[in-house]
């Protein structure tokens, strides 16, 4: 007494109007129903003593539309110093913690995150960007004349790919440090562990920049976090 589980072809030509269904059609339909049960619920179909179809898990390896995991990394030290940056030269990229005490510098491996989506495309803007990074920086008043323009980018060290580049101004005037937030929406990721670095460069002088908080998010339902989709919901709605 077998319970068959099989994802078969169900083509319209197998059935005709006002005709009996034959065994092949019924076999395919019942096998499909049993296979769907196991694929959805990840357990043996009713009446079956073992499971033949592996359940979906919303990853690229076992099927199901890829799910955004939300926050996949967060770090910050409140009012205390998190990462300190101070360039040795202008127009050169340096890691965001290059001015931390030496034992707390991470040598281009600032943080790790376990991701599930897949960025496609060769460079920013990517075809399917799937992660965002929020960065808050604190900018003490720098030495030297005039404002400084600092560029920032995210390096996915695992993939050897960069995000888009954002810029902010470190103003020469005023007396108090000023904070600013940056949102990167083109952070490349791959399924599994990803190693990241945050890099800054200045157009002139050596302004100090503190990175006070960072948060990496798989971008929910926005901006193509899903790896592929027809855009149709399972209920047929919008």
């Amino acid at each position: 007494m077998s319970v068959y589980r099989w994802f078969s072809e169900l083509v319209n030509e197998m059935v005709e109007g006002n005709q009996w269904l034959d065994t092949e059609v019924l076999f395919r339909a019942t096998s499909q129903a049993n296979a769907l049960y196991e694929f959805i619920f990840d357990k043996a179909a009713p009446g079956a003593t073992s499971q033949a179809i592996q359940g979906h898990d919303h990853t690229s390896t076992q099927g199901g539309r890829t799910c955004a995991r939300g926050t996949v990394y967060s770090g910050g030290a409140g009012q205390d110093q998190f990462f300190k940056w101070e360039p040795s030269a202008a127009t050169t990229w340096y890691s965001a913690d290059n001015a931390n005490s030496s034992s707390k510098q991470r040598s281009g491996s600032l943080f790790w995150a376990y991701c599930s989506g897949t960025t496609t495309g060769a460079s920013s803007p990517y075809t399917t960007p799937v992660a965002w990074l929020h960065v808050r920086v604190l900018k003490p008043v720098p030495g030297g004349a005039g404002n400084k323009t600092v560029s920032a980018r995210i390096n996915n060290v695992t993939l050897s790919k960069y995000s888009e580049t954002k810029t902010f101004t470190v103003a020469a005037g005023g007396s108090d440090p000023v904070s600013e937030s940056l949102d990167f929406v083109e952070v490349p990721i791959q399924p599994g562990w990803n190693e990241f670095d945050i890099e800054y460069q200045t157009d002139k002088d050596s302004p100090v920049v503190y990175t006070t908080h960072i948060c990496l998010m798989e971008a929910a339902d926005e901006d193509g976090c899903y790896e592929s989709s027809t855009g149709v919901s399972p209920l047929g709605g919008v």
Partner: protein, 230 residues
Amino acid sequence: MMGFVTSGWQAIKWNLYKIGRPGRFVLASSLFHNLNGLFEGLTGSPAPGAGAQTVAGHDHSLQGGRPIYRSFVGGFDTGETVGYLLSDAGAVATPISLTDKSPAIRCYINPAINDQLSGPPTLTAKLFVVMTNAGGTSSDFKFVIRNVEGGSNSTTTTETVASGVTSSKWVEISGIPVASGGWQGYDLLAGWTGAGGAVNVTACIMAETSGTVAASTGAKYDSASATTRP
């Protein structure tokens, strides 16, 4: 015609239909019953034409479906600021907690990922550690994460540091127990074999990974060879 829509699970077996015979009511009704159940199980909504939902929608947690790894479940990163510290003039042969209050960290794990599953499933963590060896000999620094509920430990990650050296690096700890899933507490433990050691853990990223849910009772479907067909 008043619709009568049922949903649920009946065994759909090979002997319900015979070659050369038309399909019977029991087969057709079983098919409809199960397909309606699949719809409800998949969407979490009543089947088309049904007035009420009788099969709970799957949620990859306690309502069925393979557990989904959810990536980051807890941890911290203090960067330049002091993290979790331990120092001792002597050896700490058996790793001890880095905090005087337990647990050091709380995480929320998918309730369906628990030690009732085969394996059992475990978490993985990345830690940024600063290891200082002020002793006169090479020292093996050990790092462990303990699940408070079960009192069981992860696998031990060991790093060797030469005499008089401070070494900073990311290390990975695997095999972190999940106990009963849901809210769990964890302690960070460290130790070293030589004298005059100190550690400072400034980052800890704990995650459910694909390896957490890798155990499977079923064979992966291969449409090219239809290998799952009995």
